[in-house]
Amino acid sequence: MSQTISNGRPAQPGAAPALALHVDWTRCDGRGLCSEMLPEILGRDEWGYPIAAEQHRGRDIPVPAESEVAARNVMSLCPVLALRLTDPHAR
């Protein structure tokens, strides 16, 4: 994926999230790596699956700009490749 997904927006802390984390729930089996590496975004539900740390609207979980690098790492480290970063503004 070589496209610019930050959309050219400045990466200011607290700015409106440019990206969102998409969980492929058919792949995820709750290993827990993502919630360990992104505690500011993800917690775990009572069955161990990742859940947004804060209530949010929509199916994908917003990723603030300051977490983008960590989110990219998690995406590639997920043992079942269940995570993708999507750009909600691309549509």
Partner: protein
């Protein structure tokens, strides 16, 4: 299942006969005698604009504006002209009580075919698929055999599961034979069957498109209300004199639709609107219209057009518990939050119904709905959460009585 038309019942402005106007089991001759012939290619250039002006929404459950899907598919085609779009007519009727798609396919198969051909011409489709189960399947096969212009339609047998009609499950079934939802980050209009731009509509939506392609948006809007134009097929089930499918004006009052089916208002304590992924309305709320806007305050929507009536001698809490149990059993078991969360929600409702629930038990049901909502490849957890929440709202007093071993159902 018989068809009622406006002519045989005097129910004021509720019933209307459009989709089913050609009469029972209409063959091609009667279809053309009733509606006239349609030239899909001639209608194609204006179809998108007419659909947008018509205000037609999807009749499969989610209720999206029909024109938006068509526009998205056409846009995807324009950006990748070598991937010819696909049109899929979805006639899988997973909702246990729904009979409207079956009724449409058996009585007006040619109207569904017309809609497929019109939509196909408008998006420049390279493939047309129709996905349905018996008895609609036989009817559509017979209709396809009657006309040369339908020869390219591929008929695919739908699985007999609750989720078989879920959009990504339909695409998966046609592509791989497995009727299970799958994960997607793109809409089907961009990337669907074998990654082609895919226009997937419910068969009733396509039948309406078959009429709009002929008569235009203004004609369509002459029925229904401004915020819910056109007509809807509704399945009446549960505690009604007999289960049946009626064609009603969009936005028709729910109590009037029930009356048209011969239901006695005094006997009904609640109605599940929209099916098992829908919401409960209590007897005092049945003056609401069967439209997305009128039902939104109750957390309900017209869904696939099901009205499941509950007699006042039946326990609403027990009925809800049975439905949640069924929905938990119909999980595709692919997504963790659904696989574990829905059985937990079902257990919570079993306890509420059995009267073994503690004071915090309704809280547990609310929390579980939040825990599963939006966390699956398809909207099955979302729909189950919606049903559970609506029952907790509608039957709050009854749930409280159950904690004390009592029940608010009438004794006669």
């Amino acid at each position: 299942m018989t068809i009622e038309t406006a002519a045989v019942r005097d129910s004021g402005t509720v019933l209307v006969s459009r989709l089913l106007a050609a009469g029972p089991d209409a063959d091609l001759a009667r279809h053309i005698a009733c509606f006239g012939a349609l030239d899909p290619v001639a209608a194609a250039p204006r179809l998108l604009a007419e659909l947008e002006a018509s205000g037609l929404t999807g009749r499969g459950g989610a209720g999206f504006a029909a024109w938006r899907k068509l526009a998205a598919t056409a846009r995807a085609r324009d950006s990748a002209p070598r991937a010819r779009p696909v049109v899929i007519a979805n006639g899988a009727e997973g909702e246990p009580f729904s009979r409207k798609d079956e009724t449409l396919l058996t009585n007006a198969p040619h109207l569904v075919i017309d809609g497929m051909l019109a939509a196909g011409a408008a998006v420049g489709a390279g493939e047309l698929h129709l996905y349905a189960s018996e008895p609609g399947l036989s009817a559509i096969l017979g209709a396809v055999a009657e006309r040369a212009d339908a020869a390219g339609i591929r008929i695919v047998t739908a699985a007999d599961t609750f989720l078989s009609g879920q959009a990504s499950a339909v695409v998966n079934a046609i592509e791989t034979g497995r009727p299970l939802p799958r994960d997607a980050v793109k809409h089907l209009g961009e990337s669907g069957l074998r990654r082609r731009p895919t226009l997937l509509h419910n068969v009733e939506t396509l039948a309406h498109i078959g009429l709009i392609a002929r008569y235009g948006a203004a004609w369509f809007r002459a029925a229904g209300t401004p915020d819910d134009p056109g007509t809807r097929l509704v399945t009446l089930a549960g505690d009604v004199p007999r289960s049946q499918v009626l064609e009603v004006h969009g936005g028709a009052r729910i109590d009037a639709v029930l009356a048209a089916a011969g239901a006695e208002h005094d006997r009904i304590s609640a109605v599940l609107v929209g099916g098992y992924h829908g919401g409960w309305l209590t007897a005092d709320q049945l003056g609401a219209g069967l439209s997305p806007a009128a039902l939104a305050p109750y957390g309900a929507h017209p869904g696939a057009g099901i009205l499941l009536a509950l007699d006042r001698t039946r326990c609403a809490v027990q009925t809800t518990a049975e439905i949640v149990e069924y929905l938990a059993g119909q999980s595709a078991r692919q997504c963790g939050p659904c696989l574990f969360g829905l059985p937990a929600l079902a257990a919570s409702w079993r306890e509420l119904a059995a009267g073994v629930a503690a004071a915090e038990s309704p809280r547990r049901a609310w929390d579980l709905a939040d825990a599963v909502d939006g966390r699956g490849a398809c909207a099955h957890p979302d729909g189950t959460a919606r049903l559970s929440r609506s029952a907790l709202r509608a039957f709050a007093a009854d749930v409280e009585q159950h904690r004390h071993g009592r029940c608010l159902r009438a004794t006669h």
